[in-house]
Amino acid sequence: MLGISKKKRISYLVNLAIVFLIYFGISTLIAQRVINSYYSDIINMMLINIILAVSLNLVTGLLGQLVLGHAGFMLVGAYSAALFTLNVKLPFTVSFPIALIIGGLAAALSGFIIGVPALRLRGDYLAIITLGFGEIIRVIANNLTITNGAKGLYGMESLNTRHNLTGMFTYIFFIAVFVIFLNFTFGTSRHGRAVIAIREDEIAAEAAGIHTTYYKLLAFVLAAFIAGVAGGLYAHQIGLIDPSKFDFNRSTEILVMVVLGGMGSITGSILSAGVLTILPEALRGFSNYRMLLYSVVLICVMLFRPTGLLGRSEFSLTGAFEKIRSTVGGNKKNAAKKEG
């Protein structure tokens, strides 16, 4: 391949190896029933939340626009995917991936429709419009016959069977990995740079020859697509969906994950999506005080790290190694000085 430095290639390989190690580690534990189905469900939900947070990070972190209705896109994806697998007579292993793509496309289409008027303007119109969209789409799903109203859809199959406990995990895990990969590469491509330029200064970006409306739509539709796929995964992971699962609280929850992790930091989103999925479960022992503690944690993080856990920086192994090496090296130097 052209132009890849040796160092980069090694770090790509190391990351790939780590991904597979994690995958084989967890899937073996699930298959051997060391991790029971309760915990494996939490892991799956965590991965779905990671997908959602990372996709929202595309718009909120990279493009710098506030989105208050991400659950709306998830709803569109979840319902279209579920309706497809419920109504199409195909083996589930075939219909499931098609359903995910359909879910993604449906969400991308709705993103496009609301993005065109909202993103031609400068400023915070997107926040209000997506807020409205999230509520409208939920009310629609609550009242249509095809979506089965407030009762929602149920009976979706899952890839997990008695003999195959890791079916869903495998799917969700690799989609999550792919989405994370996509965010990194998109962010460092010319398109990602253009999107970041718009975040930094829209007027200057336009003066630098950037077609701002196009790039804003690109990031927004891409995020909507990913949220739709996550919705499809969610529908089949849970097995039943109803409109109340995709309300404003859900949108806020995803937004909190992005803000808490540090806007614009993908690894930050991953970290906080993981923590915020596990936290409510881990706090179950405190029963009534659960949500109180949850909020206290959020407030503390925002007080002590207002830019989020990782700010705008990314965690990388090479970076971590270099830091450790330099601190150890620094200590040695200091020690040598003292002796001298």
């Binding site: 998109f186 491509s189 010319r190 398109h191 003066a207 950037i210 077609h211």
Partner: protein
Amino acid sequence: MPVLETKNLGIAFGGLQALQDVHFSIEKGEIFGLIGPNGAGKTTVFNLLTNVYVPTEGVISLDGVNIVGKKTYQITQNGIARTFQNIRLFKDISVIDNVKIAMNYQMKYSVLSGIFRLPSYWKEEKAVTERAYELLKVFHLEEHADDLAKNLPYGQQRKLEIARALAANPKVLLLDEPAAGMNPTETKELMETIALIRDKFKVAVLLIEHDMNFVMGICEHIVVLDYGRIIAEGSAEEVRSNPKVIAAYLGGE
């Protein structure tokens, strides 16, 4: 044929005629000055040229083609790049990425090649990085390539903004008060840089500036605006001795 020409250019904001009958023509490789007292409408001229405002009358032709009504980014792509009176850099990203962003429209690879890192991505990114470094070298910024733009000292931020405008491969470079806030040494250095840019990149430069030594020292042709109209034009000598200009600056009669 002039590279940039305006005829009968004017704009009214409601009842206020901000500019009227502005006409000038800039030849290839010329350094052209636009001066006038505060509020004369100089920056408005820039905003008309880049279609931030749409002129209510008149024609702007770039290489003989009328560009009135084109979008700002299309005008940049067609060959007019500008800097801003109050620096507008992409502050939280690296210096070199600031330059690369202006080269974006000259790159071809698709979203998918970018995401999947296909060979076209590596090829074009490599080429663009080299070009960006060369451009930074002209402004002695190559050592700061990986620093965040906001961490540069003021004078270098001004230079980076010019580098970014040049990265868009313009035929005409618009500089809005490039020497504002600079000390005499920096101003002198900037004059040399602008002359160098003209020779190296073969661009015409249209600049707004209040520093008269700067304008008189570098511009081959000067247009003086007052209350939205051209009151004088010509070489530095001609403008300097024009009684109308003296009256506009110092008050006359």
